[in-house]
Amino acid sequence: MKFKPMTAVAILAVGALSFTAIPAQAADPGVTDTEITLGMQLPQTGAASPGYNKVDDAMRAYFDYVNSKGGVYGRKITLVAKDDKYSAGLTISTASSLINESNVFAMVGSVGTQTHSAVIKDLNRRGIPDLFVNSGNSAFYTNPSKYPTTFAGLGTYVVEAKILGKYIKATYPDKKVGILYQSDDFGKNAIQGFTTAGLVFTPGKTAAGFIAGTQGSLGITSQLKQLQDAGVQVVIIASVASTTAIAALTAKALNYTPDKWVVMSVGSDATTFQTILYTKKIMPAQSAAMLAGIVSASHAPSPGEATDEYVAAFKKINDQFNTGTDKTWDNNVLQGMNIAYQTVEALMGTGKNLTRKALINWMNTKGSTLTSAALAPVGFSSKTHEAYTGFWIGEYDATAVLKPVGASRVVYTTDSAAGPVTISTFKRPAISADALPKAA
C-alpha cells in the first residue's frame, strides 16, 4: 500500500488526523456542508464480476436522483467505487485508498464475503460505518460487539436456509435431500440453517463440499457424482451463481436429473447465471430454460414484477440516471437501488449534524424502521446487525423470472439462531410519490 504524499499532507493540514498525536475527536472526514462522500468495493472486472458489477452504477444512479432533488440536507452524495476484482489483497489496498485518498465518510454496499473479511476488522477499528454489505455471512452481523459498524445489505444465509429448509421438508417429505456447498462461511451458514430446519445431511453421501474458488478450475464432477450415487433427489446448492452454472452443465454430462434443484438466492441470480453460461456459448434462451424450475428465495420483489411500486419507481430512476455501461434492469440493479434508498433514509434519519458515531447510533436505535422494496423487515438493533429477516420462496419460470410458489406469495421470517420459521406479518410501507425516503 502506498499513498500520494500530497494527500496525506492535505489530511494533516486540515488537522483531521495526526501522526504525532493520539487521534483526537476531530470532524469526521467525508462530510462537508455540501457533500457526503461514500465508498464501496466490488468486483467491477474479473471472473466474479458478472452481475455484481452493476450494483455500484445502480446505487450512483439513485444518489444522482437524490442529488437532483437537493441531496440530503443540502449535501450531495458522491459514491466512489473501487474495483477489487474479488481479490482480498486488492480489497485491502482499495480500502486504504478510499479511506486516505477519497476520505470517505462511510462504506456502503460493498460486495463479497471473502473480500470483505479482509477489511472488516480495520473498518470497524477506525469507526467507519460499513453499511449494507452485500454478503449474507451471519458472522459479520450477529455479534455487534465484534463488528459494531458493520450492517447487512442481505438477509443472512442462515435465515434463508432455515426458510428454504422448512419448505423442502414440507414439500418433498419423501425425497432424499442432499447439498452441494462451498466449504467456507457461506456453506457453513447454509448447513447451519438447513439442519436447524430439520434436514439431515451425511458427509460423503448427501453432503458434498468443495473449496470455494475451485469450481471453475477443478470442477464439481466428483461432488455431483457423489450426490447422484447417493440417490439424492433434491439437490440444494449453497454457493455462488458460477457454481450453479457449472452444476447445471456437469449434471447434464453425468446424466443426473434430480427431481428438483433448490438454489440459495446468491447462487440463482439470473444475470450472473446467464452471463457465465454465455461465456460458454450457451445462448440466453437456452440458459433461461436451464434456470426454469429451480427453486430459490428472495427478500425483495422480482425485478420482473413491473407493477410493484418500488420496482416501477426504481426502474424509472434507473432509466433516467444510470450512466453505467450496462443499466439493464435486473436483480442487481434493484439491489443497488434498494441499498442506495436505505442509505439516504439512514442519512436523513441521522440528521443535519452528521457524524459517523451518530449514524451508527441511528442504525442501532432506529435502523429497524428502514423501509425499502424488500418484502421483509430489517432486523437492525444494538443486538444484531442483520438485515432482512424474511424471504419468500419462488420458482424460476421460462423467462428467468422468479415467481412465487403456490397461489400467492408468502413471506416467511425467522432469525439466525434457533428461532422458528413463521409467516411474516410485515406490511411494506408504500413508496412516496417522489421515491424519496422520509426521515424517521
Partner: protein, 536 residues
Amino acid sequence: MKRMNMRKLVATFGASALIVTGFVAVTPSAHAADPVCATSAKTGVETCAGKLSNGASYVMMVPSTFNGTFFYWNHGFRASYPYPGYSVPTGVQEVTPYNPSTGKDVTQQMLYAGYGLASYDRSSTGLHGWNSADSVEMLKNLIDIAKAKYPTIKKNIIYGSSAAGAILTPFVEKYPNYADAVGIMAGLTPPAANEIKSLCDAFYIMSVFFDPTIKGCAAMGAKGVAGHMAALGELGKVVALLKGWSADYGAKPLAYPAAITPYGIPQRSALLLSGLMIGLPTKSSHMDGISTSTLVPEQSINATIAILENYGEAIATGALAGQAISEITGPGFYDNTKTDWASLLSDEDAARYNLGLSGDDAISAMVGVLSMAPRVKGDPAAMAKLAALDHVDFSSTKPTVLLSNEADRLVFAGNTSYYVDKAQAVYDQRLADYQSGKSKVKPVWNTLAMYAMTPVTYTKFLASGAPDLSAKTAAVSGVGHQNFTVDQMMAWVRILAQSAKYGHLPTDNYVAANLKRDPNFNLDPMYRPNDLKYTA
C-alpha cells in the same frame, strides 16, 4: 567477519551439510581504556576506537561540523557461536543503521549532517546471545565515554535495530537522563516472550504435520555449543521441509498424522495455516499476495508462497534467539498446554485465505489435529524467567520513534503497534491522573510509529507461470528485516534529531515532509499492521 544473515543461513542449510567450526570464544580483557583517535585529513572526521569497561569494542566518529547531537547505535541479535556463513563478531560491525539486504548504511549521510556517531560490539564476556541486560550497562558506559570525550555534546539519541528493542526501552526507563530521544528500528518490543512463543509454535506445528522428530523449542536449554548445535539441528529439519516445498509448492497431500490423510489436504495448506497462526507476513520479497498467473490462479496461493519465502528466516530467528534466551531461562521455557489453536487463526484470515487453506472442512480437520496432538509442557520456573525477561513498563517520557517494515518476517511489525498500544495505555492513565488532579504534570504524547510499505503489486512471473523468486524483482520497500532504503533510514534519523532537539515529537508538517521523501512510507496515521499473536 560477517553480520548475521538469516537468509544465508537458510540457504546454507539447503546447499550443504552443516559444518561448524571455531567454537573458541575470546574473552576480552575487562577494563576500559582511553580511545585511540585519528582524524581523516580528507573528510575531517575524527574516528576513535576503544574498549568498554567489559572489554567490548566501541567506535566513535565525529565530523568537523559536529552539531552537538550524538547518536548511539545498538545492533541486533548476534549468536555466540558460528555457523556456516557467520562468524562471531570480535569488533564493531555497524556504526549506523544498516540494511543487510543492500549492504548500505547511513554513516556518510549522518556524518555529513553533522551528527556524532557511536557504536559498540554488544559482546559480554566474549559472548553475544541474549545479553540485553549487559547491553544496557554497556550502552551507559559508551555514553559516559562519549560525553567525557566530547563535552560539546548537547543531545544524546539512543537507537538500534531488531533485538536492540529489548535494550533501548529498558535503558531509557533505567537511565532516563541519558537519552533525549529513542529510535527503535525493526525492533522487538519486550517481552521477547510474545514473539518467541509464536516462533516456537511454528516448530511445533511443523512437528505435528510434517516431522515428528522436530522438537523445536523443547530441544533448547543446553548451554554453550551443545545447545547451539541442538537448535541448529532443529532448524535444519524445518529448512529441509521448506526446500522440498520450494520445488513443488507443497502440492503433495498431508501424509501425517494418519487422522488427516483421508482429507487429501495439500501440504501447502498446513504451511499457510502455520504461517497465519504465528502471524508471519503474507507478503514477501517477491510475492505481493495479490498478483496471479495461470500457475498461481488465486491470491491465496500467492500468499502461501509468500509464507514459504518468509518461513526460513522466521524459523531461524526462533532457533537462534530461542536458544540464546534458553541459556538464561533454562530448558522448558516453551509451553503450549493451554494454547487454543483455533483462536490463533482469526475469522478474517480463515475467510480471506479460505482457498489456500483448502476450505473450512480442511481447516477444521487441521485445527482438530493440532488440538488433539500431544502438547509441550514447559517448566514453570523457565517460563517465569522468560516472561520477566527485559521487563519494561513503557513509562519513558522521551520521544520515541519506531520504524518498521509492513512485512518484516523476523521481528513482526506487530511489535511496533504493540509498543504504541502500551505507551498509549500509560499516556491515557497519566492524562486521567492529570485531569482528575492526581497529577500536576500534563502528559505529552511522544511516540511515533513509521511504517515502510510495499508497493501494491510487485510479483513477477516467469513464462511458465511460476513466480520469479530471483532478487531482481524484489519489492523495493516494506518487506524483510531492516530492509530500509537510505532515504527511509535518514528520514527516521532526522525525525529523531528533531525530537531530541525540542524534547518532543516534531510537528506533523515536519513528519509529513520527511515521510514524503520516500514514496513507500505509510501516510495513514491510523494504519495498523497485523497484531502479534501473543501479547503479555
